[in-house]
Symmetry: C3
Subunit: 131 residues, 3 copies
């Protein structure tokens, strides 16, 4: 199965994987269809948001932390319950449309792997459906 | 690429696009498969929820605003960080099942474009995969 | 259309449906593709998270309840607005990759139906796309 590898550097971080996703499509001459991206980890996720101003990602992370702090009413012993909760709020699976060999994104959109319990090495699985 | 256009009238609003989605399927004689709907904007999203009682949508918007207020610890200078955060919580991409030419929805379900930084004219991109 | 039936026992509960999803794939000899799972209800959802330690699911439910309590600023008269809000945060639709007849999940991942207004009998609709 195809995959992307992402190395994160901090506990919480958004990693822009748009370039890697486009390279995957180009290398495999995938022209028109839907690409499923899947995060195989329970303390990360996948989202799309603004990539132009890094303050946007900062604001998302800071406010998720405000809502779901690292310490709280948690029973899971690994100390990363906040990361599991954020993972389900952001979601593990993402679909993007591919048209004429390009991943279709709005003007300001980038595809992000969202790390909530790094630093770690992460795998994003990929499945192409032509259509 | 196929798309729907949605004009929103307020800063925050759910717009029921179920009829437009069904019309798209009917016009194109799409019978069985999966339809990917994609919000090409970083301050909107797509969701499915109850459409019968408008209080449900009101309660979702009011309580998202309670959790992620318009003013807060934000560094993004455009004053719409709350909208970006809500966009990632609701999600940009949605898949619906199509069976015998009908978008399959539960009794109370409607498909909504979720506007968090309107009023604007928005594009929802569409990709059909037969199956 | 294919579906799974889930009976929930409590108002809020995560039900592990991984076994049922794998059985569906095996029974139908589905080898490689993407499976769309769809929750046909407006007070439930679908997510993937850790299934090994039940404390993770407990921590997710307790903290969603902290953020979106059962009683609050709600106008919907049925008393389940919290469930509708959680449904849109978790999401109604989920895609998983299938490879060599197996639903591809990370080491700790399980597929959950998320009940927010049970106990009820719920339908999860399924659509297979080979690819």
């Amino acid at each position: 199965m195809d995959s992307l590898t992402v190395k994160t550097a901090k506990r919480e971080q958004f990693v822009d994987i748009t370039g890697e996703v486009q390279d995957f499509l180009t290398s495999n001459r995938m022209e028109d269809g839907v690409l499923t991206l899947y995060c195989s980890h329970t303390t990360g996720g996948l989202t799309i948001n603004e990539g132009a101003d890094p303050s946007v990602v900062r604001d998302i992370l800071v406010n998720l932390e405000r809502l779901i702090p690292r310490r709280g009413d948690y029973q899971h012993a690994e100390g990363n319950s906040d990361a599991h909760i954020k993972s389900s709020l952001i979601g593990p699976s993402l679909q993007v449309i591919v048209h004429k060999g390009r991943v279709m994104l709005g003007t300001w959109q980038k595809i992000f792997f969202t790390e909530f319990d790094g630093p770690r090495t992460r795998k994003i699985w990929i499945k192409w459906i032509a259509g």
